[in-house]
């Protein structure tokens, strides 16, 4: 079954530490996205990718890096985690083409930075 999976599902990190959030999709979609969701802000786009080797900045990229080593995998990297990055992070994939706007979401990763 096609799906978007994320790991870990929950993560507690220390301030200044490095955090890597992973996303895998079996939808064979070209596009992938990383969002964070905070109360009162809805979904905010951090980084996205059009395909393997590509990453683009979204609306709130500061403090985050992204990596797309393959069609299936898209990682979000916090080099120096801060408490303000405590949030729920969602990965999504999208097919591109005529249905380019549709996105399919993973279950989310709850990150707490102490």
């Amino acid at each position: 079954e096609a799906a978007v999976t994320q790991s870990p599902r929950n993560k507690v990190a220390v301030t200044g530490g490095k955090v890597t959030l992973s996303c895998n999709q079996t939808n064979n979609h070209n596009n992938m996205y990383w969002y964070r969701q905070d109360t009162g802000h809805g979904l905010r786009l951090i980084h996205y990718s059009y395909g393997a080797g590509s990453t683009e900045k979204g609306d709130i990229p500061d403090g985050y890096k992204a990596s797309r080593p393959s069609q299936e995998n898209f990682s979000l990297i916090l080099e120096l985690a801060t408490p303000s990055q405590t949030s729920v992070y969602f990965c999504a994939s999208g097919p591109g083409g005529v249905n380019y706007a549709e996105q399919f979401f993973g279950p989310g990763t709850r990150l707490t930075v102490l």
């Binding site: 978007v4 596009n31 996205y33 009162g40 802000h41 809805g42 979904l43 786009l45 996205y48 059009y50 979204g58 969602f90 999504a92 999208g94 591109g96 380019y100 706007a101 549709e102 996105q103 399919f104 979401f105 993973g106 279950p107 989310g108």
Partner: protein, 113 residues
Amino acid sequence: AQSVTQPDARVTVSEGASLQLRCKYSYFGTPYLFWYVQYPRQGLQLLLKYYPGDPVVQGVNGFEAEFSKSNSSFHLRKASVHWSDWAVYFCAVSPHSNYQLIWGSGTKLIIKP
């Protein structure tokens, strides 16, 4: 600037009652529009989508939405809600120019028994 407004942060309805969740968008031209649903502690799931055509679109679980260009709206409706509809509902617009979605802030639907 393109934007999506969901004016109601929270809506409470009785089980079996009808429902309307409001969505207003700001976009030059005819957009692609979406409603997503987020059940507790889950990711978002596509409920329905509008690509230019019939203004009333049907989604899963008895939901439908109506596009109105004159009102810049894309309201979500359901004739009779069930307790399992308790969730947060997000409206989104696609600007066509890229592969991103512009999101509303969400409406939490609470069902009274």
